[in-house]
């Protein structure tokens, strides 16, 4: 392509990641551009008759007024083809492993590199033959991308027509022509495995529908108390050190999604390294494959250029939508959306836009909502069903949930998992506060739980939450007068909620039996705790003092269930039920 085919200009001014071109240009809004001799990647963000404003996704030091800016004619796109899974990219989908291999430990600037390996030959099984009519989304071929993921090569959404030529199954690269399609206008179009899609535009679907399946995460406080639907959205807000990243890691490791897209947006470099190292070793208990075989990382750490941080969220969700179109359930971890909002604020400040709350631009809310609305359970163009679930961490300034990012996020998410500083200080993890968290999916998901786990599941959940709420109001009294003066039935509530907090809500992410817990075990644990409560209540009603009940050690015994019963031995719960019966007998005999 010759340079003069697309718009071009010369730099007039530079301010951090923002550059200006003077005068009227022929650039399009959102067009991707190359800046300067090093061809740094940038994007046009505003156009007036007097000047064109461009944000640059790389460090701008060394750029000069007078340097050339060249357009590409298209918006910033993600490259979609086999090779995405088990890979790590920066915010604009440049492969970090290849960058490390060719430029060493630092990320050099102006590194133009194809996102995916174009040399590698993939074992391709063709699914269409010549003569067939194909539409946007039709599956052309299947490629085993990793042991865990079959990559379904699709016709791009905007193309349909009759197949005039198809290669036989065999080994092909992502740039080899697989089929040729005669379009409606009579022209012929060659299709490869590769699609390009603008990251800020949602990929089309047939329709969105209500999700009735939970995203099972193996985390008790999430699955039981505040479950997330497949295709739903959740926010995890919390001050520093409250465990946002740990919770995200746990979900990325143990949830039953088919594909995980982990976006490290303006966070720590070491955390991304940790995910890379851990997921390359850990085995997915459901499939027996390595976790990395279903995971893609987008790493735009806090010291990487701020504009690319803004783009990283969109790159991530575009990859997710692409896999959803193949019929997969995809979960996105966005850690952290606050850093993304701060990137918006930083660029907005450089553009001298009028700030709204706390310096954030006025369009913060609308950007957040368009991002979260890209989640959902969908009927895809090719008839498959797939979902994108978004789990966004929020890092509120000073841990104060009233700040704009948390507040605006709350309006668009279905699950709110509020992390609590005082729980984290007491090392109660996951430090999700059960009183201020909420979940909008309960009624949609109840039928699924009734069918697949137990009809009593939601009933027990309700009882447990009610007990915890009673505890919180009792604690108000205890704080004033101490617990000794409470009547025994209320002391029992305090004791049983202690069992719930320590034995059920608290979960050890490093214990082999506790890091991921099946729904059956979660249900049985609730059942056992509530049975203990019922039995004890009977004893208290007969006038037995709480002191005697505590002496039996049964409460500690039940707390230890999480460690003592492995996931694959639910029959052991019977023994605990017997122990509770024995406890009843023993108290009765001793104190009759």
């Amino acid at each position: 392509m010759s340079e003069n085919q697309y718009a071009s200009g010369t730099i007039y001014g530079i301010n951090g990641p923002i550059i200006y071109i003077k005068g009227q240009t022929t650039f399009q809004i959102s067009e991707m551009v190359y800046v300067g001799e090093e061809k740094l990647v940038g994007e046009v963000i505003s156009l007036t008759k007097k000047r064109t404003t461009i944000q640059v996704f790389e460090e701008t030091s060394g750029l000069k007024p007078g340097d050339k800016v060249i357009g590409t004619g298209g918006a910033l796109c993600a490259t979609l083809a086999p090779g995405i899974i088990n890979n790590i990219f920066d915010g604009i989908e440049r492969p970090l492993r290849e960058i490390a291999a060719s430029s060493g430990k630092y990320i050099k600037r102006g590194f133009s590199m194809t996102s995916l390996d174009t040399e590698k030959k993939w074992r391709t099984t063709m699914k269409v033959t010549a003569g067939q009519i194909v539409y946007g989304g039709t599956i052309i071929a299947e490629v085993p991308e990793t042991p865990a993921v079959v990559h379904r090569v699709m016709v791009p959404p905007d193309i349909s027509g009759k197949v005039t030529f198809a290669v036989p199954s065999g080994e092909y690269t992502i740039s080899d022509c697989l089929i040729k399609v005669r379009l409606k206008d009579g022209t012929e179009k060659a299709l490869t495995m590769t699609q390009r899609w603008p990251i800020r535009v949602p990929r089309p679907v047939t329709e969105r529908f209500l999700s009735t399946q939970p995203l099972v995460t193996g985390q008790r406080i999430l699955d039981t108390m505040f479950p997330l639907a497949k295709g739903g959205t959740a926010a995890i807000p919390g001050g520093f050190g409250t465990g946002k990243t740990m919770t995200q890691h746990s979900i990325a490791k143990w949830s039953d999604a088919d594909i995980i897209i982990y976006i490290g947006c303006g966070e720590r470099g070491n955390e991304m390294t940790e995910v890379l190292e851990d997921f390359g070793k850990l085995v997915d208990p459901r499939s027996g494959n390595l976790l990395m075989d279903r995971t893609t990382l987008i790493a735009n750490t806090s010291n990487m250029p701020v504009a690319a941080r803004e783009a990283s969220i969109y790159t991530g969700i575009t990859l997710a939508e692409y896999y959803r179109d193949m019929g997969y359930h995809v979960a996105i971890m966005a850690d952290s959306t606050s850093r993304w909002a701060e990137a918006l604020r930083e660029i907005s400040g450089r553009l001298e836009e009028m700030p709204a709350e706390e310096g954030f631009p006025a369009y913060l809310a609308s950007r957040l909502s368009t991002f979260y609305e890209r989640a959902g359970m969908m009927h895809n163009l090719n008839g498959t069903e797939g979902s994108v679930s978004i789990i966004g961490a929020v890092s509120p300034q000073g841990g104060d949930f009233s700040e704009p990012v948390t507040q605006n996020t709350k309006r668009y998410v279905g699950c709110f998992w509020g992390l609590d500083k005082s729980l984290a200080y007491a090392r109660h993890f996951p430090a999700i506060n059960w009183l201020n968290s909420y979940c909008d999916y309960i009624s949609d998901l109840t039928p699924w739980y009734s069918e697949n786990v137990s009809p009593h599941f939601m009933d027990y959940r309700g009882r447990i939450l009610a007990l915890l709420n009673t505890e919180s109001s009792l604690m108000e009294i205890v704080k004033l007068i101490g617990s000794d003066v409470l009547p025994d039935d209320q002391k029992l509530i305090l004791e049983i909620t202690r069992v719930i907090r320590l034995g059920f809500l608290q979960q050890n992410a490093f214990h082999k039996d506790d890091m991921c817990v099946s729904l059956t075990k979660q249900f049985k644990m609730m059942e056992t705790i509530l049975y203990l409560y019922d039995v004890s209540r009977k004893l208290i009603a007969m006038g037995m003092p709480m002191r005697i009940l505590k002496e039996e050690g049964i409460f500690e015994h039940i707390i230890a269930i999480k460690y003592d019963i492995p996931n694959d031995k639910p029959e052991m719960f019977e023994d605990y039920r017997k122990d509770i019966d024995a406890f009843y007998q023993h108290v009765m005999e001793k104190n009759a």
Binding site: Y12, G13, I14, N15, K22, E59, S61, G62, L63, K64, P65, I88, L96, I99, A100, G104, K105, Y106, I107, G239, F240, G241, G264, G266, R268, G269, N270, T273, E274, L276, E277, T301, S302, N303, V306, E342, R345, E346, G349, E352, E353, P355, G359, S395, Q397, G398, G399, K421, Y425, A426, R427, H428, K479, I481, G482, S483, D484, L502, G553, Y563
Partner: protein, 463 residues
């Protein structure tokens, strides 16, 4: 010889504006001579032929006519070599110890470049500092960035000095280690205190000092940590040394940033700090780490004084979001004569979980730490209750917690400035303290570990 530009078109606080320049690039360094003295400046904004320049030494004495400005053609660079060890430099890397400048062919851009996450190695080796509350509860890991959140008048300097002394004399003293000390807006006596400490502990040959003192030009502060970290990276990755970088005081650095930002007329975000405070701090802190396949490491110990002891102030808040934990000093503990006055509850080391336990320290370490945190958090609740109903009315268990709390502060947290405890000593103290509580209160410890280590206080006293 490049062109010299005569005169300026505007002077505003630490910023000057030069018009009619050609060929200047963003972030380039300029030399400005004023009355035979040369000052350095950096281009922070540029429009066609008009450059906004930040002058490191300040604009005092400049007029619109008396300056001659020359472009250097490159961003801020310093010469690096192993000879920097034992030397003292000012905030922009010029020697102030009376010796000659560093001569080296290697000149590095002080802005650094982001380390590729793929090339990093996840830090796992702990550094024994000999301080119980750090080793036991917020273990420092080689390659970590662990700031000290302090307040004015609290002994953060003494604590940092103790860490330097004891960490460098640890078991790994045969390996090559060095300290890079960057002072930003530090008082003279504090800088002297550090210099003396380094001399007394015999490490001064292994220290590189970059001093921007309280009366030095404010704008230089913005470059000091970058210069220091560039030196640290060179020593770590090219000379394969383990580097401990002390950055003090980050608050002065952020204040300087705010000053320049407001002179530039930028739109402020929180408390007048610029919107890029987070990204800018991250560009410092993220330069800690270990590169895979390289023997060296950069560990950072930034110190910041929280304005009005407020941990939600933007500087500690944003720092906490970038660093891998924090050590928080508490005024009320200091008031009770406890040194080091570390409030363990908000303190945290994120990398601790992978650097302790079996094969590193001892298998019970994580459990003991969790239990101490959890029990000490309970102490806070009990104290609040005792304030309302009086100690006498507390239940027997609650009274045990009060005693535990006192003993924890007096025996575990408090220790002498010269006292160097091994991790095993620290764990032993931890178990003695846990022995004061009944076994059923210890709900964070695996049953097997309790069986092995737990001794109730009555029997445990013989240890």
């Amino acid at each position: 010889m490049s062109i010299e530009y005569l005169g300026l078109s505007e002077i505003n606080g630490p910023l000057i504006i030069l018009e009619g320049v050609s060929g200047a690039s963003y972030d380039e360094i300029l030399e400005i001579s004023v009355n035979h003295e040369t000052r350095l400046g950096r281009i922070i904004e540029i429009y066609e032929d008009k450059a906004v320049i930040q002058v490191f030494k300040g604009t005092m004495g400049m007029s619109l006519g008396n300056t001659r400005t020359r472009l250097t053609g490159h961003p801020m660079e310093i010469a690096v070599s192993e000879e920097m060890l034992g030397r003292t430099f000012n905030g922009v890397g010029a020697p102030i110890d009376g010796l000659s400048p560093i001569h080296s062919d290697i000149r590095l851009d002080v802005n650094g470049q982001p380390l590729n996450p793929v090339s990093r190695e996840y830090p796992r080796n702990y550094i024994q500092t000999g301080i119980s509350s750090i080793d036991g509860l917020t273990t420092l890991i080689r390659g970590q960035k662990l700031p000290i959140f302090s307040g004015n008048g609290l002994p953060h300097d003494r604590l940092a000095a103790q860490i330097v002394k004891q960490a460098s004399l640890g078991d790994n003293s045969d390996e090559k280690f060095a300290i890079v000390f960057a002072a930003m807006g530090l008082k003279h006596d504090v800088a002297d205190y550090f210099r003396r400490t380094f001399e007394e502990s015999g490490v001064s040959d292994h220290v590189v000092m970059f001093l921007n003192l309280a009366n030095d030009p404010v704008v230089e502060r913005l470059i000091t940590p970058k210069v220091a970290l560039t030196a640290a990276e060179y020593l770590a990755y090219e000379c394969h040394m383990h580097i401990l970088v002390i950055l003090t005081d980050i608050t002065s650095y952020a204040e300087a940033m705010r000053e320049v930002s407001s002179s530039k007329g930028e739109i402020p975000s929180r408390k007048g700090y610029p919107g890029y405070l987070y990204s800018d701090l991250a560009s410092l802190y993220e330069r800690a780490g270990i590169v895979a396949g390289n023997e060296g490491s950069v560990t950072q110990l930034p110190i910041l004084t929280m304005p009005n002891d407020d941990i939600t102030h933007p500087i500690p808040d944003l720092t906490g979001y970038i660093t891998e934990g924090q050590i928080v000093l508490e005024r009320s503990l200091f008031g009770q004569g406890i040194y080091p006055p570390i409030n363990v509850l908000p303190s945290l080391s994120r990398l601790m979980k992978d650097g302790i336990g079996k094969g590193f320290t001892r298998e019970d370490h994580q459990d003991v730490a969790n239990q101490l945190f959890s029990s000490y958090a309970k102490v806070g609740d009990v104290r609040a209750l005792a304030n309302v109903i009086g100690e006498d009315e507390l239940s027997p268990t609650d009274k045990l917690y009060l005693e535990f709390g006192k003993a924890f502060e007096a025996r575990f947290v408090a220790q002498g400035e010269e006292e160097n405890r091994s991790v095993l000593d620290t764990l032993a103290i931890g178990w003695q303290l846990l022995g004061m509580l009944p076994r059923e209160e210890l709900d964070r410890i695996d049953t097997k570990i309790l069986d092995q280590y737990y001794k109730p206080a009555a029997e445990g006293k013989g240890n």
